[in-house]
Symmetry: C2
Subunit: 177 residues, 2 copies
DNA sequence: CGGTATCCCCTAAGATACTG
DNA sequence: CAGTATCTTAGGGGATACCG
């Protein structure tokens, strides 16, 4: 069966401080969360985007997405169909032909998603810059930490060699912390 | 190190049919995909939503989200920080205090996400209905299949008992394809 | 063609313990 | 308090094989 819907999660956080922060946050564990998970999933978005252009058959989708396994495409499509986002039409012919199309509901979702993609495209540069800056900072801190560790090791060695901590005053001054 | 950025995925689908379907689809494998994955991730959304109200400390977030592990919160926050969506401020005091807040960039993202959440809330009913309908259909088809299987089994048994397929004409008429 | 069933691997994420 | 390090396990997802 492989289930398909996760077992609720439920992050209630019943903080009794009277302060009702969170507006839609609390309800996320019931419906919103699941739908978000669906559209956030690796393949759903691609399929929705592709179907927005025109309806497609199973194999056409398989080829267009390229990288998706038959299993995952079938799974994705069944999920989307179940949620009423995609319609499945079987043509009784030989060889069999099955068409998938976006439902009106699916189309409105695609519109909404577009906004998100647009946001991403708009701020792509800022994000890239932020990442670069972060990575530089992180690398610097790492180097710093390494140096301090090396200094501590040197101090320890010095202490051991000279036979006591009293003799290490001169080197201790140069060690951080 | 645990990496943090997935190894590119690359679903190119170089269909040389000249028909250039897909507008933003193709670019998804580079930047958009990653950012979408980030914001779509299980915890990021919650954290962003929470921080939109006011800045919070690590433990406050931990309590509010309730269900998140220390590990995942730390990870989520570092990701968000790296992407420039959340700022981290360390107050050099004892006990140590670290505040997390949404950056302006993070705030704009929160606005965009709101649209999605609104969509979900608006269409919640439709989706629930679609799921219910699907499940009913699926159950019906399952029952159908079971009955046919049972019929086939009965036919097979009848054939074996009577000693030949020629004797099974009467029952064969009642068995679906 | 359009799937489902099966096996199997690998990583994301929870639990736990330790550090500054 | 605010994390990091380490171990372990569930399940997401690919490969393969087979049905209608």
């Amino acid at each position: 069966m492989e289930d398909g819907t996760s077992p609720s999660l439920s992050y209630r956080g019943d903080t009794d401080d009277g302060y009702d922060v969170r507006q839609w946050d609390v309800r996320e564990d019931c419906e919103v969360r699941q739908i978000l998970d669906r559209i956030a999933d690796k393949w759903s978005l691609l399929v929705i985007a592709l179907l927005d252009q025109r309806s497609l058959r199973f194999t056409e989708l398989r080829r267009q997405v390229d990288g998706i396994s038959q299993r995952m495409l079938a799974r994705t499509l069944r999920h989307l169909e179940r949620d009423g986002l995609v319609s499945r039409t079987v043509h009784p012919s030989v060889p069999p032909r099955v068409d998938y199309a976006l439902t009106p509901l699916g189309a409105t979702l695609h519109e909404t998603i577009r906004a998100l993609v647009t946001w991403t495209e708009t701020h792509q540069q800022e994000i890239a810059a932020a990442r670069a800056a972060y990575d530089v900072r992180a690398a610097a801190e790492q180097r710093q930490a390494d140096e301090e560790a090396a200094a501590r090791t040197a101090l320890a060695r010095a202490v051991l060699e000279r036979g006591g901590p009293g003799q290490a005053q001169d080197v201790a001054g140069r060690v951080p912390r």
